[in-house]
């Protein structure tokens, strides 16, 4: 056998091994979802008995309708439709809120010189080191004092401060050439006009990338809604889902729970898949 033939064979063998590794990896991530989707198409007894089927059953419509309209679990919780709406509103408000206030703060820090500029910048920067998790109780007390418990405002506003987004926009604004600012000044454009007509259009790609990351951040919030919301009409889907499961009783309405899990997964996964290119670029550039 000649060398060329040997090399070709080795190449092919390597490619097969690579494919097998990647397929295994894909399966590790896809299988739990597959199992959940299958579970959501069977009736409660099939799953409760533990006869976990590998092919879809005929109860999909019934399960998804029940989850959407009535909810399930031991407490007959909140309808998934309601929870999805809450999660969607929360995630969108958080994403847009963070982007809006970070754009304006970064603009102020980069395009103006005023006393206390660096103090403001550092005040924003330090919040990176104060995640909700380390100030649970006092933050909760502030929320009680401001009467923000069980309100959408309370759910959203404390989360829209963003050191990361401000840092990203600051980095980006520093790359806008001084000549643009000079030209704007000569043309008689003020700072607000410059912001609207030059800076915003230039920032579109960054905003899109950041939107995906922040939407998912908002959608996936857990501890905060758990603390702030105990009114069922404001329940978000991720927290609501785990409340349906409770201690993990076998008697749970697992079929409805699984349908709710699929509802909870769909929107963020769709956002990532549809905006994959922007999102990957944004993620690797933002967080470095």
């Amino acid at each position: 056998m000649d060398l060329a033939e040997k090399t070709r064979r080795r190449r092919r063998r390597e490619a097969v091994v690579t494919h097998l590794c990647l397929i295994l990896g894909v399966l590790i991530f896809a299988f739990p979802i597959y199992l959940t989707i299958i579970g959501s198409t069977h009736d409660v007894n099939t799953i409760g008995r533990g006869d976990v089927p590998m092919v879809p059953g005929g109860e999909a419509v019934a399960n998804y309708t029940q989850a959407w309209e009535a909810g399930g679990g031991r407490y007959m919780g909140t309808p998934a439709g309601r929870m999805l709406a809450n999660s969607l509103v929360m995630a969108l408000l958080i994403a847009f809120g963070k982007i809006a206030i970070s754009l304006t703060s970064a603009y102020a820090v980069v395009f103006f010189r005023f006393p206390g500029r660096m103090v403001c910048f550092w005040l924003i920067f330090i919040t990176l080191m104060l995640p909700v998790e380390v100030r649970i109780i006092p933050t909760f007390q502030v929320m009680v004092d401001l009467q923000l418990i069980n309100t959408m405002t309370g759910l959203v506003v404390p989360l829209i401060a963003s050191a990361t987004a401000t840092l990203l926009f600051r980095q980006f604004f520093l790359t806008i050439p001084d000549e643009y600012v000079e030209a704007a000044k000569i043309d008689g454009a003020g700072p607000l006009r410059f912001f609207r007509d030059v800076v915003l259009p230039l920032s579109v790609t960054n905003v899109a990338a950041l939107f995906v990351i922040l939407f998912i951040y908002g959608w996936n919030q857990y501890l905060w809604p758990l603390l702030i919301v105990n009114d069922r009409s404001l329940e978000t889907i991720v927290v609501g889902l785990t409340k349906m499961i409770g201690g993990g009783d076998s008697q749970n309405e697992w079929n409805v729970i699984m349908a709710t899990a699929v509802y909870a997964l769909l929107p963020p996964v769709a956002v990532v898949l549809l905006m994959q290119r922007w999102f990957v670029k944004g993620l690797t550039e933002t967080e470095k």
Binding site: A15, G25, F29, S105, V109, E133, R135, K185, V269, E287
Partner: protein, 292 residues
């Protein structure tokens, strides 16, 4: 630095106002309160409180159950980070090769980024529940008594697996970006010199990836410390016993469930110090990286 600026004092403050008000009200005020409360102790009825100095800290740091939580958090975080980084690096190296369908593989490995930690826990519960989960039942059928609700070691294993599973895609994205920025010429030179693929990986690729790997290590530790609250809360609630209670979970139980404010505040301050150290390490590294 920018040389040309707009004039004005009121406008920039106005633009900064929303962000500063929010950080002041919801970040600095509560953080200050945490520090203040950590020096106070309330009586049993919550009617009065008195200054106790460092007592809360001394109590926390000498409490054997807190030290156990700390040790457990260490084991948990390192396991999650190592597992999530190892699997992600392996998959990224495979996906970076010139093979058919590479883009499809990438998409199929990136999407779990969208899954909330709490949801990852729910998916793993569906698989490993002793009665309704396919693997849970399989283990029991094989004669291995599996019930993560009763067995602490099994609970911790499950929480680690679910937490790492969720984090792989994030690491994968960064490793892939790191691999793609390695110049092909360097790899080809090594190949021409006769280095085997394994040798090429460990002597050329891995050193060039090490900045990314270090950055990710810090991010993964922070993730394991804080963001896994959802995993633990929805899977085991810290149990059975205290076998899956991490430090963050303990702040939650002591503060929200047991209303032990002084102790919870002292624990919060200790955690803040840990975050400050981790963030400082991360940014020192970023500074260094900017320069070369």
């Amino acid at each position: 630095m920018r040389k040309v600026h707009f004039k004005g004092i009121a406008l920039p403050y106005l633009l900064l106002l929303p962000q500063l008000v929010i950080t002041g009200l919801f970040f600095f005020w509560p953080a200050g309160m945490a520090v203040y409360q950590s020096f106070l102790r309330e009586d049993a009825f919550g009617l009065s409180s008195q200054f106790v100095g460092w007592e809360n800290y001394a109590d926390v740091l000498s409490d054997p159950t807190w030290l156990e939580s700390a040790a457990r958090t260490g084991v948990f975080s390192v396991s999650v980070a190592v597992l999530a980084l190892g699997v992600a690096l392996f998959l990224a190296v495979q996906a970076d090769k010139h093979i058919r369908g590479a883009d499809t593989y990438k998409t199929l490995l990136i999407w779990p980024y969208a899954v909330a930690p709490a949801l990852a826990a729910v998916l793993w519960l569906f698989m490993f529940h002793p009665n309704i989960g396919i693997f849970g039942r399989m283990l029991n059928a094989l004669g291995i008594p599996w019930d993560y609700r009763l067995n602490g070691g099994q609970a911790l294993t499950l929480v680690i697996l679910a937490s790492a599973w969720k984090q792989v895609s994030y690491n994968f994205i960064f490793f892939l970006a790191g691999l793609q920025s390695i110049p092909r010429a360097v790899l080809e030179a090594a190949a021409i010199d006769g280095a085997s693929p394994m040798r090429r990986f460990w002597t050329v690729v891995f050193p060039l990836l090490s900045p990314t790997a270090f950055f990710l290590l810090v991010v993964n530790l922070v993730y394991a410390f804080f963001d896994t609250f959802g995993v633990i809360h929805s899977l085991t609630q810290g149990g059975p016993g205290k076998s899956t209670e991490t430090l963050i979970y303990r702040v939650y139980t002591d503060g929200v469930m047991n209303l032990n404010l002084g102790s919870s505040a002292a624990q919060s301050v200790i955690l803040m110090i840990i975050v400050v150290v981790l963030t400082a390490v991360q940014f020192r590294y970023v500074e260094r990286k900017v320069h070369y």
